[in-house]
Amino acid sequence: MFENRFAFLKMRIATLLLASLGTLAVAGCATPPSDPVARTEFEKENDPLEPLNRAIFGFNRTMDGMFLRPAAIAYREVLPQPVQKGVYNFLGNLRSPVVFANDVLQGDIDRAGNTAGRFAINTTVGILGVWDAAAELFNMQGHSEDFGQTFGVWGVGEGFYFVLPFLGPSNPRDATGLLVEYLVDPFNLWAREQNVEGWILARSLVTGVDFRARNLQTLDELERTSLDYYVAVRSLYRQRRADEIRNGRPTSDQPAPGITVAPEGQKPAGDDRSAEAR
């Protein structure tokens, strides 16, 4: 009975949240600019919820300034470097089954073998993944994959851009990927089975602090030098994701992205949209 009421309450909260998000989305829709050039640029950006996204981005920045960044600074200052490296290795190893599944789903058997080998070595010799023995002893370097990237490899486009509260930049493809990962990650399955769901949150928090600590200077510098930080992050996110989906392979064998140099006398601006989203 109690469980039923709890489930009902959860459903009510979810419905309310969805309804308010829907209202916000409608209110946060961007009005296309009337200037024809600005309008073309606006349409190319595929960010129809820009006002709402900017608000969530602002909220995330406030949260970052209040909690995440100070925690990341403390983490970096207080914990010795080897401990930080151990945490990073441990978290990476914990994600290995998800990386492995995505390697397989992308048909990349070599990388799947590498991931499985690394997981076996690091979980045992590397003491539950704290030490990256596979890289140090056998030069087996790690890599990351996620379901968003797999969907990308399968040809699913990124869709429109949006910013998730707390989680940051995303799009329908990558957000679906996140949800799938949340549902099928063996660690999460285990935590739910054991009724210790708090561990899932704890793991996310530590992952967030570790990521922020490793990118403190880069993100601070980007913020300091950006004319429009929101747009800078949006562009970086799209370019990085496209690069990750290609596993870092260059784009030159595809239609030339970015800057194209025309014969003398012509000065094309180049089509950037394809370059960013590819």
Partner: protein, 215 residues
């Protein structure tokens, strides 16, 4: 045990040597017939590390050297036209000139900071690829003392007998493309005028210069 291991090791060694010979023989003709684009980019990287990470230089000297390196390396007008995107047609000749002046200072301040934090990284350009329209892409890595190598890519084209760069990508992220996106947004927010962007850039440059006082 050794009876099995020894031949195995010998085969492995033979394969390693064969691999190295093959790699060299493949690389040699490419190098000999190369356009020189790879050498150009490697030299840019070496110069950047030598000039911008020299011990004891002040922040303002680093920015000055960065400006020189940028003007020696990049095709400033092509990059300026790219980052202005479709709004370039709205810029008067005077505005374009002023934009180019400010953009160079802006980029110099953006990137000088990276070299200030230099901790022994090495730039190693590895191969070049000719593109259809007379451009070359040069690929390489930035080797870090600890941590994985960082992919780097520079697109260059010929200007007279030399090369000039038109794009720089780090881990797939293009510097000019990221600027172009931001600049379009700033222009749109400031009355769809390039002068609005020039004002914003001037503001940023003034702020950077305040943070980096000259000696």
């Amino acid at each position: 045990m050794t009876g099995i291991a020894l031949p195995f090791l010998a085969i492995r060694r033979f394969l390693a040597v064969l691999g190295a010979v093959l790699a060299l023989s493949l690389a040699a003709p490419a190098g000999a017939a190369g356009s020189g684009a790879l050498g150009f980019v490697q030299k840019v990287g070496d110069t950047a590390i030598a000039d911008l990470t020299a011990a004891g230089i002040s922040d303002s000297t680093r920015v000055k050297r960065m400006r020189k390196l940028l003007s020696d390396t990049f095709d400033a007008e092509t990059v300026a036209r790219f980052v202005l995107g479709p709004f370039v047609h709205r810029a008067s000749a005077a505005e374009l000139k002023e934009f180019m002046r400010l953009y160079e200072i802006y980029v110099a301040h953006n990137y000088a900071g990276l070299f200030k934090r230099y901790s022994g990284e090495k730039i190693e350009m590895q191969r070049e690829q000719a593109l259809a329209n007379g451009n070359f892409d040069v690929f390489g890595v930035i080797r870090q003392p600890s941590g994985p190598p960082i992919n780097m890519e520079m697109r260059v084209h010929r200007v007279n007998s030399n090369f000039k760069a038109v794009d720089l990508k780090i881990e797939g992220v293009s510097m000019p493309l990221t600027h172009r996106k931001q600049f379009a947004s700033v222009i749109t927010q400031r009355g769809n005028k390039v002068s609005g962007l020039i004002d914003a850039l001037q503001g940023a440059v003034t702020r950077f210069e305040k943070e980096t006082p000259s000696e």
